[in-house]
Subunit: 495 residues, 2 copies
Amino acid sequence: ESYDASVSRDTYLRQREALLQADENMRIGNKIVLDENERRANTILMHYKTLEINKSRASDTPFPPSIHFFQAKPLIEKSKVFQIIKKMPKGGALHLHDTSITDVNWLVKNVTYRENCYMCINKDGFIYFHFWSTPPQNPDCPWRLVKTERANSGNVDLFDQRIYNNLTIVLDDPVSAYPSINVVWKRFLQTFDQAGGLIYYAPVFRDYFYEALQEFCDDNVQYLEFRGLLPTTYELNGQEHDQTWALKVYDTIFKQFTSTNKQKFSGGKFIYSSLRIYKEKDILGEVIKSLKFIKQFPDTFAGYDLVGQEDPGIPLLDYLDALLYPSQQSQPLSLPYFFHAGETDWEGTPTDRNLVDAVLLNTSRIGHGYAIVKHPAVLQMAKTKNIAIEVNPISNQVLKLVDDLRNHPAAALIAENYPVVISADDPALWGARGLSYDFYMAFMGLSGENSDLRLLKQLAINSIMYSAMTANEKAQAMDLWKLNWSHFIQQILQE
Amino acid sequence: ESYDASVSRDTYLRQREALLQADENMRIGNKIVLDENERRANTILMHYKTLEINKSRASDTPFPPSIHFFQAKPLIEKSKVFQIIKKMPKGGALHLHDTSITDVNWLVKNVTYRENCYMCINKDGFIYFHFWSTPPQNPDCPWRLVKTERANSGNVDLFDQRIYNNLTIVLDDPVSAYPSINVVWKRFLQTFDQAGGLIYYAPVFRDYFYEALQEFCDDNVQYLEFRGLLPTTYELNGQEHDQTWALKVYDTIFKQFTSTNKQKFSGGKFIYSSLRIYKEKDILGEVIKSLKFIKQFPDTFAGYDLVGQEDPGIPLLDYLDALLYPSQQSQPLSLPYFFHAGETDWEGTPTDRNLVDAVLLNTSRIGHGYAIVKHPAVLQMAKTKNIAIEVNPISNQVLKLVDDLRNHPAAALIAENYPVVISADDPALWGARGLSYDFYMAFMGLSGENSDLRLLKQLAINSIMYSAMTANEKAQAMDLWKLNWSHFIQQILQE
Ligand SMILES: [Zn+2]
Ligand SMILES: [Zn+2]
């Protein structure tokens, strides 16, 4: 029954302040105490945040996180908050994929302009690429030198734009072009196929990865952990390189890039992943291979994951024996897992039950974990195991899990200080770069109007603390981050 | 760090079952033990549920809760699950509004066909109605006898359809017609204005309310609590009735309808509500009026609320003195509150902070509470105060808080057994009737594929337990409900 505890206005307002404060204190970042400079920078940041939010609230000016990223992107790029976030040292990007990291414009304007680059267009209008000294006959899809095709096209920009459109899912009217999740995922997977011929060419494979580190470094991201299939790569003469070769490339370039960018970059690690369409015995092979890789590349090989559209895919449970294999050895072997799990709107299905297996198999982090708020007991166990959730806001919107990002379940996780890291998943495929767009969505859409610099600071710190780095590596990464963070604060105050 | 506790397959599967069970046990309804007949009925229900969900999962057949209600409605009406839910005794509808309860087809086909019913169409195309013996001059919007207009229209169905379209927000392409929340709310409020002339005609006022009880009773809803403004009503001769007259009508018809439908109806109560555009001193007057009404109609007058679009509206905090008035009397007076609060996608704004004041002002229930999952401390206090949340799924979708109802925050509340009641808000304005459509959305979209009869049963019980009925009234209502519930179970088993 409702009782009317007679309360004076002042008492009421004190109770109200206490409850508001209790609520605030539960948020990510609200344990942080800002120093004097940080507070002044925070005031500048919040001035712009409040301005931009109130402009949307007061009028029908679209609020970027609530509309499709393809329409929101130009608005975000005019945002002062976005400008600040771009300058901010954001720590590490912990959820990325090997062939969707580097800006597709680089693939078009750099790689397809290289010598020996051939293309073919099949009857469905898909464009495939391959580097040949002399191309083989290919009746269904005859190879043509890109340089000649481009010259004969009569309009270089249009020609290049068409390639860009094929290698991304970007288009003007996503709502009608992608009426369902299955339609957008089909289109999404087609972009990987079409870009493969370019990226798997050994010289490009190296440059593509170096370019990725450069782009993230330019976006003030100091560390990367990315999933990859370790594809077979090829040379012009047809010679092929195996998976170890690919892993060696990552290992070498991580170290090379880090040493040449000591002031801004801490390195990165690789998570080997297989498509969740393989049979169980194949997955056992992949796990055993991972155990070999982890010994060979201890600094760079972080662990194992399964990728690919989760709803139609084979659930983790069906791979149980393979996934239990490392821990069941007489001398248990350690193979960290980083499982994509619960990337679905469904509930009570094998897809969201992947969350149960990810947590029980001691995953280090959960990829997406979109459905976890519908599984309170799983969420509770994940919290006690200190398992961070990799939230990729734009990916979840573009791949049609949610339309208005203010409805993203991670808003509730952020409100109760659940360990969250913000990442970008496949930024290149929807025209994003680095982490700034996703940090913008998290700061403006996944948390409140009054969430401030402390949230951004804690998200950056989380990305280092919940990385697969060793304690020593983390300490060094934090030192670098702190240095860059104070430069960032100075920079905001000077402008 | 991730540790590899070496675990055998069997141990793992036991742990897995335990975690799944722990998760299941937290859901609304999972404390219920079904008897033999209920279990057999549950099997039938779940056969259809699984069939319908898997059909959507396996193919691109749209899943009704994930598409707009205007497109989903015909699909829902073909659903076997919906047929069962319609037959189910659903307890009470605890969130409705006075002039959006009765099917608008009844207004069109019954009321506008009555004698002395006049209409006028203003320059913006809005249609207003009024009953006159002889209509006054009205240059901007000249009154014409509906009967004549209909006859002269040459197409009665088209004529009536046009009226229906004006008195509801139903149309074919809601996505382009309603690009923003403000646009759909503007259209939504216009329907109330246009229907007012019909409903406030005293004889219609009575029949409209009686028809509402009949519609909900036919939908196997045994009890109603609805918000209303107690409008001034008029007679043909221009004589007007005051608010007390209107309240008397509700009181009388509730009792009359209950006595003539003893086997199916338990009665109902009224929540007086004011528009959140009034000034503070006006609201004090409304509170004082409510205190008078509660003495005059103790069985029927349940309490007070503020309504109207919450984002642009005046927040509860600005009405604090008026709302504290009852409890601050030397001899504290009891005026239960039933505040709409948090009906927004925004966070950290006055709108979602209405949740703080609703809880601190000891609201009996929270209307919508859409943003409460972003305020964990407020949610916690509301739970300890046993404050139920009135969830109106279709309203939140049609009024553009969420597109895919699987993303509705109440899914997380249902998953952790937060006290929730399901209601319909303004069903008539979007072509729904009774509670069945909203129960369907809750059962199929706001909970998992494996949520079964126990969820539906608990939601019905919640609607009686969290009503404003006295303990005695609740006991009687539960007895009636149990009787009808066992008939329902028999009915399912016989078919
Ligand atoms: Zn991913
Ligand atoms: Zn309402």
